[in-house]
């Protein structure tokens, strides 16, 4: 993974000093609430319902075991003993004390971490495939490009006060998109042109929120070295022309729509003509320097099958269930990718304790070259586990509460913090997730249902990605009461689509039954091997709608 050099470290250290001084001025009354707001936001610090919330950046979801141990230490020392993985693969603390945040940032800086630009109207953490570098079917490892973007976007002097937040994702997989790339302000797909040269297909204007929309292709092929000058051009066009009069119309997707994709692309190109081949152009040395930080670990030469594993799978059904669900094929023979799920009954999705963080760090050291990943589905990943170690890993993960074998299943939900923590919420989201986990706890039934993305957001801001869940749930406020709107047919994958609203919203107590009816229609209508989303696309909206809103007699 990327290791800071002296320059990187100094920038992060300077940031700690800067924020310490800003916090002091705020506490001394020299900065108004309004003036401090964007400063603390650009440092990931929100003021939430009960206390500030600090969001720590995990660039493209990659952490070392030392970093994870530091997070455990922070959870223990400055918080109430737990942390939360967000849908941007960042880590959130819900109870830090404002005056101690500079100390937390200093602790983070000591392990090459920070909270820079995890919030505010600036360029946010770049995300990518959680299986980057270890999965079959990838063109190249996308992470060096994410790191290049991270450095370019960190304290970019021209783009610190954009009309609205700005999110970039990079995908390099030929037929999968685990990063929901097309639902970002800028989605970058790494491709080769006919001549075999590496470059990017650049999509602009995707996003969730109030106006969910899939991004449009503005540049079918951008050569590798032009990444940053082209991004500069996009951002400059957006910074100057994006709407600033209405925050719901301020994302770049609205600008692209208003101008039309072609006119927008032409404007970006015109701007880019002034920048292309200038000093912002990437050099081979720089690309290679960054790539040098992402070389594969020293794998052992192993068989692609392991007799011990096969024996355990035959003997132990629970292990086999977990293996079937939470373990994914690795491109290196004899290794596997393991997801540690954070979706256990009784725990809010994505939450984990300081102890679990420590255990995850230990597992990484012992079994996975000391690295851990966080995913936008709010789980953790050990990317390089030997097949012969899987049984041990499972036992330890199980003992520590992150081996629920539900990866990709209904109960592997995405859920935002909602009304329990978030000041913007219209409704709580965690209790809905809990009620569903409780109702659908029969693993055989869940496995029979197969892959279903169920996503929950507590308000239109869509942090829980409800639009792109196969089943989406959105908290709404009806005359001061919490209601929930259901949508069906969303997808974040290469076939990205935005879900369609089913009809009038429901009270919280009715939600488990509503979901049950939707699932029943699927089970009755599916043909062999069809996933929920496929059945929905085939049979359409109506049968679901009719069943859910049928008058009971």
């Amino acid at each position: 993974m990327y290791k800071y050099d002296n320059y990187d470290q100094r920038i992060v250290d300077e940031r700690v000093a800067q924020f310490r001084e800003q916090t002091e001025r705020y506490l001394a009354g020299e900065l108004t609430e309004e003036q401090f707001l964007p400063l603390r936001l650009q440092n990931g610090l929100y003021v939430q319902r009960y206390a500030p919330m600090l969001r720590v950046a995990v660039p493209y979801g990659l952490m070392s075991s030392d970093q994870v141990r530091k997070l455990a230490h922070i959870a223990r020392t400055y918080d109430k003993g737990y942390a939360h993985i967000s849908t941007r693969t960042n880590v959130q603390f819900n109870w830090p004390e404002l005056a101690r945040v500079p100390d937390i940032l200093e602790e983070l800086a000591s392990v090459q971490m920070h909270a820079i630009q995890t919030s505010g109207n600036c360029i946010r953490n770049t995300t990518t495939d959680q299986y980057a570098g270890v999965v079959d079917g990838e063109l190249v490892d996308p992470r060096p490009y994410c790191e290049i973007i991270r450095q370019w976007s960190t304290f970019h002097p021209e783009f610190a006060f954009l009309p609205r937040k700005f999110k970039i994702a990079v995908n390099s997989h030929e037929d999968d998109d685990r990063a929901a790339t097309l639902l970002h302000d800028v989605g970058i797909k790494i491709v080769r042109n006919k001549a075999g040269e590496l470059g990017y297909a650049v999509y602009v204007g995707g996003g969730l929120g109030r106006t969910p929309i899939v991004a449009s292709l503005v540049k079918p092929f951008l050569p590798e070295k032009h990444l940053l000058t082209y991004l500069d051009a996009i951002l400059r066009v957006y910074n100057l022309n994006g709407r600033r009069d209405n925050k719901y119309k301020a994302r770049i997707k609205i600008l692209v729509k208003a101008m039309g994709v072609e006119a927008f692309a032409a404007k970006v190109d015109e701007e880019w003509q002034h920048l292309v081949d200038g000093p912002g152009t990437l050099t081979d040395e720089e690309i290679n320097r960054i790539k040098g930080h992402f070389t594969p670990p020293t794998y052992e030469k192993l068989e692609s099958e392991n007799a011990e594993l096969i024996a355990h799978l035959a003997e132990n059904k629970a292990f086999a269930n977990w293996y079937g669900r939470n373990v994914v094929k690795h491109k290196q023979p004899g290794y596997a990718i393991v997801t540690l799920t954070l979706k256990k009954l009784g725990t809010p999705p994505g939450d984990l304790t300081d102890k679990q963080l420590d255990v995850a760090a230990d597992l990484a050291d012992q079994y996975s070259f000391g690295e851990i990943r966080s995913t936008h589905e709010q789980n953790l990943v050990l990317a390089d586990v030997k097949l012969s170690d899987l049984f041990d890993v499972w036992q330890k993960a199980k003992a520590n509460g992150f081996a629920t074998p539900n990866l990709g299943l209904l109960t592997d939900m995405i859920c935002c913090p909602g009304g329990d923590f978030c000041a913007l919420a219209n409704a709580k989201s965690i209790p809905v997730a809990e009620a569903l986990q409780e109702k659908f706890d029969d693993l055989d039934y869940l496995h029979d249902l197969g892959e279903i993305d169920l996503n929950i957001s507590g308000c239109m801001n869509a942090c829980g990605h409800h639009h792109i869940g196969h089943i989406g749930i959105l908290g709404v406020d009806k005359k001061g009461e919490e209601f929930y709107q259901v949508s069906l047919g969303g997808s974040s994958s290469t076939d990205a689509s935005v879900g369609k609203i089913l009809g009038p919203s429901f009270a919280r107590v009715d939600m488990p039954n509503v979901i049950e009816k939707i699932l029943a229609v699927y089970v009755e209508s599916r043909i062999e091997g069809e996933r929920f989303i496929d059945t929905y696309r085939r049979v359409g909206h109506t049968p679901f709608k009719e069943r859910v809103y049928a008058k009971s007699n």
Partner: protein
């Protein structure tokens, strides 16, 4: 305007904003609105006025004026309106504007470092801020990653 600084010192302000209502007054050392400048281009160029640009200004319209005026003031109606950063860079890097670029309006100290990087020369700080203190906020980061007006190369080229 009080509280005027550049990145090294507190300055005396030689300029005054021309109220568009009293067009008759002298143009000497006056900063005129963009519209006034476009409508009275010759007089403005002859008198070497400054021009005040709002963040929605289309720089292309001012091309002819830019070669003749000594000062462009860019207004920040709110510090969170970041258009002025792009305008400043474009003025200096694309339009080769050689005069002074001044930030006016909601100009606070925590944005000075970014403004300097984008090509601003002087800063009319918002009322109530200490100009003396503000002078300490131009060096927040010693070696930032990006190229901008103040650094012609990005860090990866400067390092090499």
């Amino acid at each position: 305007m009080q509280n005027l600084i550049n990145q090294n010192a507190i300055l005396n302000d030689e300029w005054h904003l021309l109220d568009s209502a009293d067009e008759a007054s002298s143009l000497v050392n006056a900063i005129v609105s963009g519209d006034f400048a476009l409508n009275n281009a010759e007089a403005v160029m002859a008198a070497k006025c400054g021009i005040l640009l709002t963040p929605d200004a289309q720089l292309e319209d001012y091309k002819a004026l830019l070669s003749a005026v000594p000062l462009v003031a860019i207004e920040f109606p709110a510090f969170a309106d970041g258009r002025g950063y792009s305008l400043a860079r474009l003025l200096k890097e694309r339009y080769q504007f050689e005069g002074e670029i001044r930030a006016i309006g909601d100009v606070l100290i925590d944005q000075l470092f970014f403004m300097k990087r984008c090509g601003f020369d002087t800063y009319a700080l918002k009322d109530g801020l200490s100009a003396e203190k503000a002078l300490n906020y131009f060096q927040t980061f010693q070696d930032p990653y990006q190229m901008a007006y103040d650094k012609k190369d990005p860090l990866f080229r400067r390092k090499a």
